[in-house]
């Protein structure tokens, strides 16, 4: 037995995670000999088929143009790069004079950069730049004339609003930057770029308002992103665990949005947004619990209606999490809590079903989740068919077959609809719902209450970037509560200068914004 643990420990130790290492050859500097440079590029690029190289004489000097197939705008390449270079005639051209012409006398692309290493060369190549290498010059020039295909700006799919903007983020991060910049035309809004992923070299942008963000908060975000040790970053979700303080918590302190207007509203309150190239979803930190119940439409509607909608969201959250568990607990342990008329109906329906109420609830919820998942992943027309089949199976056939009682169908339907009212909390709510059903079926209201307390403690222990996730409810601030349970009018909200670092319980040392 001891031997088994010893071997397991060694296996565990040996298979422990090691951060990916970068190829040292990538930091090697370019040489002056063009042929040598091309040999090294071919070797490092492993002769991949997508690398296009084209030798050309520029003013009688050898040069090479390199780009990745399909990532360059052909028309721009022909008009801005190929034509000027091939028709260039410098008197007594030398490598030095040609480089001077490139640097000071020409505009081959709006985004034109000089680089020195093979690592930089590959980063530019793979970002859709055209790279120009000259014989006798130990530097390269990257020309930004990208022309790859991407999805156009379209309507948000997960954060649909009635009166808000109809634009959502897309995959190329540069487009997303313009969507944000168009909304806040202030020099205090800053985009700061980082690169993460030792192989993917993914561009990540921090977006914040220098006069709103706390310098300590910003530094902490940078510190955490610097700890990302992965070779490939394909989605913003890869970075989320590094930004979350307690990864074992059910609730996250990192928010997600696909709406540029929501992002702008968040950074206005001193938060920091993180955009990842290739992902149409931005991360927002720190993200507090009450923010799950806010949406942009709240601020477009009249305050009384926005307040009503907000209460409805809170109610839906509790219904979607607790209702099935409470129902199971009441039927199993506390039938006396039902009003008499309802008790008779529940008893009548339960006597004809073969399964215990807890199993019935679990079964129906698992079936519902399977159908939801299938509907989500399948092509849209088939997804609709799955929805119809699901409605028939759960709503009618299961009751007619005597597998489940009619009140349970009502409970499931209400729960399912409620869970979509606050979509950002869908993940924790789904898991908690199943947990509450289990606990309610085995321990009754006692178990439900204890589990609810555990969930409360778990939520209260979330402290994203030193700010309690439950602030300003607890620790309490009446001033900050004007946009939590109620939505005050714009005459009040517009004048307020509340930053996330100013909320009660915040441990951010610098309370006012002012990062430069």
């Amino acid at each position: 037995m001891f031997e088994f643990y010893k071997r397991w420990f060694h296996y565990y130790k040996d298979s422990a995670y090691a951060p990916p290492k970068t190829d040292p050859a990538l930091s090697q500097r370019l040489g002056e000999n063009l042929l040598d440079n091309m040999v090294t590029i071919r070797q490092l690029y492993a002769n991949s088929e997508d690398l296009v190289t084209r030798g050309v004489q520029v003013s009688g000097l050898s040069a090479q143009l390199l780009f990745c197939e399909g990532m360059v705008d052909n028309q721009a390449f022909a008009e801005l790069v190929a034509e000027p270079l091939t028709s260039l005639e410098l008197p007594d051209a030398t490598p030095a004079s040609l480089q001077k012409w490139l640097r000071e006398e020409s505009i081959l692309a709006i985004d034109q950069k000089e680089f020195y290493t093979f690592g930089e060369l590959f980063t530019f190549l793979m970002s859709g730049f055209v790279v120009l290498l000259l014989d006798g010059v130990a530097t390269g020039t990257a020309l930004g004339i990208q022309g790859f295909n991407f999805r156009g700006v379209s309507e948000p799919t997960t954060e649909i609003n009635v009166r808000g903007s109809k634009e959502s983020f897309v995959e190329p991060v540069r487009i997303n930057l313009t969507l944000i910049r168009r909304r806040i035309k202030s020099p205090t809004m800053k985009f700061e770029s980082l690169t993460v992923g030792s192989k993917s070299n993914t561009s990540v942008y921090l977006v914040y308002l220098t006069d709103c963000v706390s310098q300590d908060l910003l530094q902490e975000v940078k510190n955490r992103l610097a700890k990302v040790k992965m070779d490939v970053i394909l989605s913003s979700g890869y970075l989320q665990p590094y930004l979350d303080e307690k990864t074992r918590s059910i609730f996250s302190g990192v928010g997600i949005t696909e709406r540029p207007d929501t992002l702008c509203a968040k950074i206005r309150e001193g938060r920091i947004a993180i955009l990842v190239d290739g992902t149409p979803f931005a991360l927002i930190v720190p993200y507090l619990f009450h923010e799950h119940f806010q949406s942009l439409d709240d601020y477009a509607q009249r305050p009384y209606y926005a307040t009503f909608i907000r209460w409805l969201k809170y109610l839906s959250f509790f219904v979607s999490m607790l209702l099935p568990g409470l129902y199971v607990a009441m039927v199993s342990f506390h039938p006396e809590l039902f009003p008499h008329a309802l008790l008779l109906n529940v008893a009548a329906s339960e006597t004809i079903t073969p399964f215990p109420i807890m199993l019935e609830a679990l079964l129906i919820h698992v079936i519902y989740e399977i159908m939801r998942e299938a509907g989500l992943r399948l092509p849209r027309p088939i997804g609709h068919a799955v929805g119809i089949v699901g409605a028939l199976v759960i709503g009618d056939a299961a009751v007619t077959a005597g597998l489940i009682g009619a009140p349970m169908v009502m409970v499931v339907a209400l729960t399912a609809i409620s869970s979509f009212v606050v979509p950002s909390l869908y993940e924790p709510v789904t898991v908690l719902r199943l947990a509450f059903i289990l606990v309610g079926g085995m321990l009754g209201l006692y178990g439900i209450t204890l589990l609810l307390l555990v969930v409360g403690l778990n939520l209260c222990a979330v402290n994203p970037f030193g700010i309690p996730a439950t602030s300003p409810e607890t620790p309490f601030s009446l001033y900050a509560m004007r946009d939590v349970l109620v939505r005050a009018g714009w005459k009040h909200l517009g004048g307020e200068n509340l930053r996330v670092q100013d909320l009660p319980g915040s441990e951010v040392p610098e309370k006012r914004g002012g990062a430069q």
Binding site: D216, E220, F333, H334, E336, L337, P339, H340, L443, G444, L445, Y446, G447, I448, T449, L450, L453, V454, G456, L457, N458, C460, A461, N463, F465, G466, P468, T470, E473, T474, P475, F476, P504, G505, E507, V508, P509
Partner: protein, 363 residues
């Protein structure tokens, strides 16, 4: 960013209030058959004044060291003395955690689930309390903020639902049997005010005006006790004296529209409060134990205390006599007096004398 553990005075107030109110849901004025309900209500007022009086030595100590707990002060004066006090305070909190869990189990297996085993609810309760103590005083106090509102709303709801049952003829003069029962009621209430000791240890973790926080806590607790007492007295009258859990009985007879009984609401409140109080005391017991353990072994303090809590509460739940004995004036007041008033007073005097001696030597 450096993590600093701190609790707002308002949050402290809520934790202490909820912890204190837990006993009120069991031991209402009519709980003791020998004392009339209105007499106990007067006793509560007297108890409140006595509690403030007990805190005077602690206040003197706090005035000199606003950011130090009683253990910090003792450690500064004499390290072995600090160790002894840590053991005493730790044992006190652990016993109270055990008592809370055992009395909770008594209620659960008597009133709610008469046929259930006594150890399963205790294991679950101790598990939740352990988790609460593990996440620390900040989440505990934050969750207390939510619970405070919940308890307040459910209390008001039940009180409103009981309006048709209030009968003013149940009221009797508090001095009907003389002054002696008032004193007994006051002592009884004082016995259960174990949160006074918690205040002395939580001092370094509290941000804000602690003195006003404690005064508000005492005031709100008094109002709540009087309200519960009055409600029980007017709705149940003499009948309450025959019930083990009069407030629970109140909730079962409360009716509002289609809600024909509200004991589920009462039970939920009771479970929340029991877990919170046990978690708080477990946290404090582990906090004391950590103070005396060597550096590498501090992490074992909480699991050790939790295991003791579980074993102790399972044992105590089966010892009905001892459960009552712990709430007797002698069993409860003596340790409380020692830890809340005597220890801080001695520490304060010692510090004064040492200060004078140093001044004398300096001169």
């Amino acid at each position: 960013m450096n993590r600093t553990v701190y609790v707002d005075t308002r949050q402290l107030l809520m934790v202490l209030f909820l912890s204190r109110i837990f006993t009120a849901l069991t031991f209402t004025p009519q709980g003791d058959e020998r004392i009339a309900g209105s007499t106990v209500m007067l006793g509560q007022l007297l108890s409140c004044l006595l509690q403030l009086l007990l805190l005077v030595p602690a206040w003197l100590l706090y005035r000199d060291h606003p950011r130090a707990s009683v253990l910090d002060c003792a450690n500064t004066l004499n390290r072995p003395l600090g160790g002894i006090l840590a053991v005493l305070y730790g044992a006190f909190f652990l016993v109270n955690a055990v008592y809370t869990a055992a009395s909770f189990d008594f209620f659960l297996t008597t009133a709610i689930y008469p046929n259930s085993s006594s150890w399963l609810p205790l294991i679950l309760l101790v598990g939740v309390a352990w988790y609460g103590a593990h996440v620390g005083i900040e989440p505990l106090s934050r969750v207390a903020g939510f619970l405070f509102v919940g308890v307040l709303l459910s209390g008001v709801f039940i009180a409103l639902a009981l309006i048709p049952r209030y009968d003013l003829s149940n009221w009797v003069s508090p001095l009907y049997d003389g002054v002696e029962p008032v004193w007994r009621a006051a002592w009884g209430s004082l016995t259960r005010s174990t949160e006074l000791a918690a205040v002395l240890l939580l001092v370094p973790m509290v941000k804000g005006n602690l003195r006003s926080g404690v005064l508000w806590w005492q005031g709100i607790t008094l109002v709540a006790f009087e309200a519960i007492g009055l409600g029980t007295l007017l709705a149940l009258g003499e009948y309450a004296g025959t019930r083990l859990f009069p407030v629970y009985t109140l909730s079962t007879i409360a009716e509002f529209s289609i809600f024909q009984r509200m004991d589920a609401l009462h039970m939920a409140v009771w479970v929340f409060l029991a877990a919170l109080k046990t978690g708080l005391y477990l946290f404090l017991a582990a906090f004391c134990l950590r103070d005396i353990l060597p550096q590498g072994q501090k992490k074992f303090a909480l699991p050790f205390c939790a295991v003791l809590l579980l074993v102790g509460s399972i044992w105590l739940a089966r010892q009905g006599g001892l459960l009552v004995g712990l709430t007797s004036p002698f069993g409860g007041v003596v340790p409380l007096l020692l830890l809340v008033a005597v220890c801080p007073l001695l520490l304060w005097l010692w510090e004064r004398m040492r200060g004078r001696r140093e001044v004398h030597h300096g001169a």
